[in-house]
Amino acid sequence: MTKKITKSGLLSRRRLLTSVGAGAVLAASPFRINLLQAQEATIKVGFPVPLTGPYGTEAQDQVRAAEVAIAEFNEGGGLNGRKAELLVRDDKLNPGEAATRTLELIEKEKVSFIVGSLSAAVQLAVNNVTKERQIIFNSISQSDTINEASDFSKYTFHEALNPHLTAGAVGRYAFPKFGKKVAFLTADYAYGHEMVRGFQEAGKAFGIETLVDIRHPIGTTDFSALLPRIQALKPDILCISNFGRDQQIALKQATDFGMKKSMKIIVPIMLYTGRIAAGPQAFEGVIGGTSYYWGIEDKIASAKAFNDRFRKMHGGKVPSDYGALGYGGVKTLLMGAKAANSLEADKVIAAIEALKYDYYKGPQYYRKCDHQSAQSVLIIESKASPQKGDADVFNVVETEAPNDANLRSCEALGHKV
């Protein structure tokens, strides 16, 4: 048989020997997966996320959820038989690192899509690269800037919520219920600033009064020195806009100082992973927003299907909020490719713009002017103690339906309409 192939001129003898040799080595090695990557036919999805560093837990969950989207796509026959694969890279939560990894994914691995990032600054860096290389990028973390005309390009999609929408939704729920005098405790970087702006814009309609906006450096481990002043001002609401470990420690110490007795604490995004890491005590009674909570599966069929699949693939775990975005981000691009029946960027973009999808949390669609995913925002309250297993941490107290009116208008973002 060997002779026949060689003779037919399809393969040279040397090429055959190297291939067989390499194949044998690869087949025996733990890096067999590389062989799949080498196939021209697969659709490659680059996935730069901060696997190491402070958001490592969330990033790893994003990978797990993205794997679910890839598996579903492949089981559904792929794109005319072409399977998809996920190429995960560690961006170390560093914009420079993320840009380099993205460029590598595009140049060396020839990826069709980039999905990822878990920071406002990092996603803008990735977006700069993908914009220039004309590769479709779906960002799965919060940012207002990415919607703006200065950063946007037709290759840019934003599956995550943005601060304006999230903070706005939490504010619209909390201000009429808990009062108008608001004190802000804010992480001093883009995320915090954008969230406060979101709260204040939503608060105009309710006539809220900002008593103080205290900015703390990112990575603060002791908030005790910031709390007495807030207590002295006697606000109705304390709004804490920070992320990850900052959020856990701030809530823990505000609880220790007895602040929950005299004011309601609200946060723009209440993280599932953060609540698990900090325990029920610190988060008890806190109100926040989220893009996803697994508990909505009782009411939403697509959430149930996604959770079940995730549990099956990942040892019974449920997906976190940011994890689910990894699923949504990959899924929408692959389904767009499928609808376009092509990988050509312009065709895929048109197909994604036309999608009306419900993949895991109810109806969603990408707004035409800025490719922001219009979607529901869940308002959640942290439970005093889990009742149905350790994952039962939040109550969904309200769901704000997807609505263009809650996003900043296309004109305000600088888009020509």
């Binding site: 002791d222 020195a225 002043r229 890491a277 005590q281």
Partner: protein
């Protein structure tokens, strides 16, 4: 500034002193090891973190917080002694940078081992039931647990002072720090003394980690932050001076607290500014002996 009352300033000052007590606890082990052994222990933050994890582990086995207050310093102290005996001891007499680099590398290994054993995400660490809630201290409410930490810091300091100044073993330690050669000639096993000093220093680091756990939870990286702060306290107080570390720790706490009131964005920078000013005026710190580093 509106709303600036006497009570608020008093409360802010008290918060600063409380914060300072925590900083003293962070720094004292580092200062002790440097003062007596001239070893700059960059793994101090890692021992602190290990203390929190040992506490977490013991509680998961059914222990309680009070038992941990005894067991954690013992376990962390013994592991510190193992480190001294097998890793640091061969480097004595080789210049200050050798143990510095060794402990720097060691801290990475310790953090990575904890990540492998316990995962990268954090764990909650509940405040012990007896110490939950806030109490009225006359000018406002203050968490009971923080008051307890101040007390614990005072007990540790008093114990350390009595041990160093009032026991014969303490006398040997102090003599060994001044002139190890003479002490050796007098027939004292200096290597054994240093072993114990390193053990005590790391035991206090472990205890500090355990005490910090209910304030901020437990993660593998928790030691990295406090290392910088502990160094500021040690440098301001004077490298190797325990009394200096106490005064500097309290001062750093008050500086952070007061900056937080007027310019919260500057709070983190303020302690480094304080360090720069002190170093400009008094390079050896408040109570440091000049030339210890050379």
């Amino acid at each position: 500034m509106p709303g600036l009352s006497f009570d608020l300033i008093a409360m802010q000052l008290f918060t600063g002193l409380a914060l300072g007590a925590i900083y003293v606890l962070f720094a004292i082990g580092l200062s002790l090891i440097f003062g007596m052994l001239t070893v700059v222990n960059f793994a101090h933050g890692a021992f602190y973190m290990v203390g929190a994890y040992v506490g977490l582990f013991l509680i998961s086995l059914g222990g309680n917080f009070w038992l941990c207050l005894v067991a954690v310093p013992l376990i962390v102290g013994i592991s510190g002694m193992i480190v001294e005996r097998f890793l640091i001891r061969p480097l004595y007499g080789r210049g200050i940078d050798y143990p510095l680099l060794l402990t720097f590398g060691l801290s990475y290994i310790m953090v990575e081992l904890i990540r492998i054993g316990f995962g990268t995400s954090g764990y909650p660490f509940d405040t012990p039931d007896l110490l939950q809630g806030a109490v009225n201290i006359g000018i406002g409410y203050f968490p009971l647990y923080r008051l307890f930490v101040i007390g614990a810091a005072a007990v540790v300091l008093l114990g350390l002072w009595l041990f160093l100044e009032r026991t014969s073993f303490g006398l040997i330690i102090r003599a060994g720090a001044r002139d190890p050669q003479i002490v050796r000639v007098l027939g004292v096993d200096v290597a054994r003394v240093w072993l114990y000093v390193f053990g005590i220093g790391t035991a206090i680091a472990g205890l500090a980690g355990l005490l910090a756990a209910p304030l901020q939870g437990v993660i593998p990286e928790m030691g990295a932050n406090i290392l910088a702060e502990a160094f500021v306290v040690t440098v301001v107080g004077g490298m190797g001076s325990i009394g200096g570390a106490v005064i500097a720790g309290l001062l750093v706490g008050v500086v952070i607290s007061m900056t937080s009131l007027f310019a919260p964005e500057m709070a983190k920078v303020s302690i480094f500014a304080l360090m720069a000013i002190v170093l400009l005026i008094r390079p050896q710190g408040f109570f440091g002996r000049a030339g210890l580093m050379s």
